[in-house]
């Protein structure tokens, strides 16, 4: 990797946005004396330096408003930085919005030529790729129909088909990969993999840490315009999630403060941690319950979710037929989930209390979290140690 030439160099780039409050001539004249007060500024990027080598796939991640799209636009030349400079070589295609430049009144065919020209393809090159573009988009029957009659799915499929046939050395992608139905998305991912194999450089902005983890070999995490991580994807995603975690905790605290405290039965604290043993990882969840009034037959439920909100486990004491103490006072309930085989990353634990009538009295969504350790052998949601058996006599071709 190190001997590859760099394709983009971002040198000490900062970008300041001015937010004008007034626009019309009348207001400008009215507020002429106070013009300074009508302008607010903030730094979208602060002193970012990056050296992107050819053939790498770089993911830009961060919260909303962290400056990742701005950085992508600066690299693409759409926005000029306030200070610092960007140098670049090779052919670039920016996919910041699918179908930018599509004209609704023109036919699909005309729009393919127009869009290809916008992305830098000559007429002859477009001629050469035209059949492949139409085939990729899968809308052969409608290619001579005006684009305004297309369904939104057809529209983005055609736009994406044009974009991937542009033959760029550097592809900038801004959250446009999540389009189309599942087969089409798979097609897009295959195309990206093909691009990577071809040694093209891809810089993508994404909110899906899953996608970033799968595609990128380098992750840059931005937070309010500052670069807080640059390098290993798994670590970058963890940095990002820790950031989300901080937001989640402060949200939770805010929500908790405004809620009236339920009186009879309440969760006091929830904590979770992993115990890494020789033959597996156990997760221990500890819930402290405050029982102020004897309440026979109450129960507790527990659920585990990924940080993206997919529920991967839930159970409760009702279905487990387990009794919980009914005496008044604080009770520590410890739940051990033995030998959890989940992939590395952060998982969230939700806990709820219910009466015997199944009426919920206290719910703590995402009350605690635990981290599964890194796995050198695999990625994904599951942690599996496969055994491989290879029998050459069966597999050999005829």
């Amino acid at each position: 990797m190190n001997n590859m030439p760099s394709i983009v160099q971002v040198q000490n780039v900062s970008k300041r946005f001015l937010l004008h409050k007034d626009k019309s001539l009348k207001e400008r004249i009215m507020f002429m004396g106070r013009a300074r007060k009508q302008v607010e500024d903030f730094w979208a990027l602060r002193d970012i330096s990056l050296d992107i080598v050819a053939g790498s796939t770089v993911g830009l991640v961060g919260h909303n408003g962290s400056g990742k799209s701005t950085l992508l636009k600066v690299v693409g030349g759409i926005i000029q930085p306030t200070s610092g400079s960007v140098v670049r070589r090779g052919r670039m295609a920016a996919l910041l919005e699918l179908g930018a430049g599509f004209h609704p009144d023109l036919s699909g065919r005309e729009n393919v030529y127009l869009n290809a020209a916008i992305l830098g393809l000559s007429h002859n090159e477009t001629d050469r790729h035209f059949d492949a573009i139409v085939e990729f988009s899968g809308i052969e029957d409608f290619i001579d129909t005006q684009v305004k009659f297309y369904s939104s799915g057809m529209y983005v499929r055609l736009a994406f088909a044009v974009a991937v046939h542009v033959d760029p050395d550097l592809l900038l992608v801004d959250e446009v990969l999540a389009v189309g139905d599942e087969p089409f998305q798979r097609k897009c991912m295959d195309k990206i993999a093909e691009f990577q194999a071809d040694g093209r450089t891809i810089v993508l902005v994404s909110h899906s840490s899953d996608q970033v983890g799968r595609l990128c070999d380098r992750v840059v995490v931005l937070e309010s315009g500052n670069m807080i991580h640059d390098g290993d994807p798994a670590q970058g995603i963890r940095v990002l999630r820790d950031g989300y975690e901080a937001v989640r905790i402060s949200d939770l605290q805010a929500a908790h403060e405004s809620e009236p405290v339920p009186s009879r039965l309440a969760i006091e604290t929830v904590s979770a941690h992993t115990v890494v043993g020789p033959d597996g990882t156990d997760v221990v969840v500890q819930v402290i319950v405050d029982v102020e009034e004897s309440m026979p037959g109450w129960g507790m439920g527990i659920a585990i979710e990924t940080t993206l909100g997919m529920r991967i486990y839930s159970s409760d004491t009702f279905s487990l037929k387990r009794q919980l103490p009914t005496t008044i006072g604080r009770h520590v309930v410890q739940i051990t989930l033995p030998d959890i085989r989940l992939g590395s990353g952060k998982y969230l634990v939700s806990v709820g209390l219910a009466l015997a009538t199944k009426e919920t009295v206290d719910r703590r969504p995402n009350a605690a979290s635990f981290d599964m350790p890194d796995d050198q052998h695999s990625t994904g949601l599951l942690r599996i140690r496969p055994t491989w058996k290879i029998d050459p006599s069966v597999a050999s071709p005829v």
Binding site: V74, G77, M92, L96, A100, L106, A197, D198, G199
Partner: protein
């Protein structure tokens, strides 16, 4: 997998020089690199012009005919209201041809300026999402204006042939000069206004008003002889003649309105018209250059202002 092509690609990339992103702001080098960039995108420019023209008349059954409707209606109104009722036509021979020449030159100017003014704002989607040399948007407006002008010019030539006034005289050489002059001046205005309108949207309305007023500052529906009779020899006449659009209108009239030179004994054209046109052309080129520099300076913030 196809690591051979990957290696090839990285070798090719290694040989290319690293170029700064965005437009250079140098005064002379900046212009040169902008011209090179626009030339590199000339195919796109052609497609954008075609997009404008096609989209404008798509789904209308008469299509192209509509681009003639406006000047013909204006011609009819001015011919009867000003020519016949107010009696201007009495001192202007072949009044219809005279008015039409002025109208199409003026129409070319207004179309380039007003659609140029809106070109960046109307293409906000593209400006914000794709990097292109942004000059091509006002230039595409020029292309659209020229197309309409071309159609109208064909009608005009047909009319001169039918009227037996084929302008095959040495004066015809003034026509290309006058046209290039008005096109370059209008492009300069369009480019400058396109950039400034992004920051000051009021301009689009202001321009409409100004263009309506300026219409009467060029000899379109009255001939230069009226101006000459009223303010001959004063600085006002020189001011009147300093307007590049006026000079182009006069140049086109001199070239295509045969009756103005042969049947009329009035002072329909100022002296040294060709010299004035050349001076105006050089000033327009300088203006276009300055406009492009201002455009280039302002375009860096287009994406965030739109």
């Amino acid at each position: 997998m196809s690591s051979a092509s990957a290696e090839e690609r990285s070798l090719r990339i290694a040989q290319e020089p690293l170029l700064p992103v965005g437009q250079s702001t140098g005064f002379i080098t900046g212009t040169w690199s902008s011209i090179k960039e626009v030339l590199a995108h000339r195919e796109l420019l052609g497609l954008l012009v075609r997009r404008e023209i096609k989209a404008r008349y798509k789904d209308s059954s008469l299509g192209l005919v509509w681009s003639l409707a406006k000047p013909l209606a204006q011609l009819l109104v001015y011919y009867f209201a000003i020519g016949q009722i107010l009696g201007v036509a009495r001192s202007i021979p072949s009044f219809a041809i005279f008015v039409f020449v002025g109208l199409i030159v003026w129409g070319l100017f207004t179309e380039i300026v007003s659609s140029g003014t809106m070109s960046i704002v109307n293409n906000a989607g593209l400006v914000k999402k794709v990097y292109l040399p942004r000059e091509i948007f006002p230039l595409a407006a020029v292309g659209g204006g020229l197309f309409n002008f071309g159609v109208q010019l064909i009608i005009l030539i047909a009319a001169t042939i039918i009227g037996g006034q084929v302008p095959l005289t040495p004066d015809l050489a003034l026509a290309p000069l006058a046209l290039i002059n008005v096109i370059i001046f209008a492009s300069a205005m369009g480019m400058l206004l396109a950039a400034v309108t992004v920051y000051l949207r009021d301009l689009q309305h202001l321009i409409e008003v100004v263009l309506t007023v300026l219409f009467w500052a060029s000899p379109v529906v009255y001939s230069f002889s009226f101006v000459h009779a009223a303010i001959a020899g004063t600085w006002l006449e020189q001011l009147y003649l300093a307007n590049p659009v006026t000079l182009s209108v006069l140049g086109m009239q001199k070239a295509l309105w045969l009756a103005g030179s042969t049947e009329s004994n009035q002072v329909n054209f100022p002296p040294d018209l060709a010299l004035r046109l050349w001076i105006s052309l050089f000033i327009s080129i300088a203006l276009l250059w300055i406009a492009q520099r201002i455009f280039s300076r302002l375009q860096g913030n287009f994406a965030q202002e739109l």
